[in-house]
Amino acid sequence: MVPLSYYLLLSGILFACGVLGFLIKRNIITIFMSIELMLNGVNLSFVAFAARWHALSGQVFVFFVMVVAAAEAAVGLAIIISVYRTRETLNVDRVNLLKL
């Protein structure tokens, strides 16, 4: 028997790590992975609350989050590829112009 608060704490730690990575990392792919980490932290609290309240809809929402994450990964990585093609860099500090 694990208290619900432990799951929420773990989910909070994962989300905080994602936010921290989003802020401090400079590689655009790693920033993108930090977003995935945040989504995973939220998923964990969804499943924990679903177990706590005996409601399966929490688990169904996890699937929706996964679908959105998959769509976001596909589009985001395509954007990264096209950014790399035009700028020749993955460092977000150097991607500071809207138009070349």
Partner: protein, 175 residues
């Protein structure tokens, strides 16, 4: 007791992987630690009695999405990231703010929330129940997400293809 030990074990792997993602400077190492985080999260879902979610987590997240990431890293030949100088104000204000926020959240979750233990297997999480919910109660969101996926596929193809390839395709259509 065994549940608590398993929870702590996989939770420690999760946190270690998340911290490793931040510490590593090469994106491929970050990707591998993210895979470790996702795999141990699947174990946490098993502990919560959500078997189907755990399986989908491994297949979709640790499988499909991370393969996309690794392919992109290898395609772009991403190297070690360059560090940029941080601002003083962010450090002066940010670190105390993060500490205060973290202590508040942990204190609230541990002592001020009416939390109870989550028993394993308490929830019926088998695919039949989930499918009934997904295809009956959540039918409209399900259909909307399928449109979303279609748009995402088209967007990814358009964005990632070379402009000259697109122009060639247009010429072929005309001629």
């Amino acid at each position: 007791m065994l549940h608590l030990i398993l929870f702590l074990f996989f939770g420690a792997i999760c946190v270690a992987g998340a911290v490793n993602l931040l510490v590593q400077s090469h994106p491929i190492n970050s990707a591998l630690s993210l895979i470790a985080v996702m795999a141990s999260l699947a174990a946490e879902y098993l502990l919560l009695g959500a078997e189907f979610v755990a399986a989908v987590q491994v297949i979709v997240y640790a499988g499909a999405i991370m393969v996309l990431f690794v392919i992109t890293i290898m395609l772009l030949n991403a190297g070690v990231e360059e560090r940029s100088k941080g601002s003083r104000v962010a450090i002066l204000l940010g670190i105390p703010g993060v500490l205060i926020g973290g202590v508040l959240v942990a204190w609230t979750l541990l002592y001020r929330s009416n939390t109870q233990a989550v028993p394993i297997g308490a929830l019926k999480g088998d695919p039949v129940d989930i499918a009934r919910l997904l295809f009956h109660d959540f039918l409209l969101p399900f259909e909307v997400t399928s449109v979303l996926i279609l748009i995402a596929i088209m967007g990814a193809v358009v964005l990632a293809s070379r402009p000259e390839a697109l122009a060639r395709g247009a010429r072929k259509d005309e001629g």
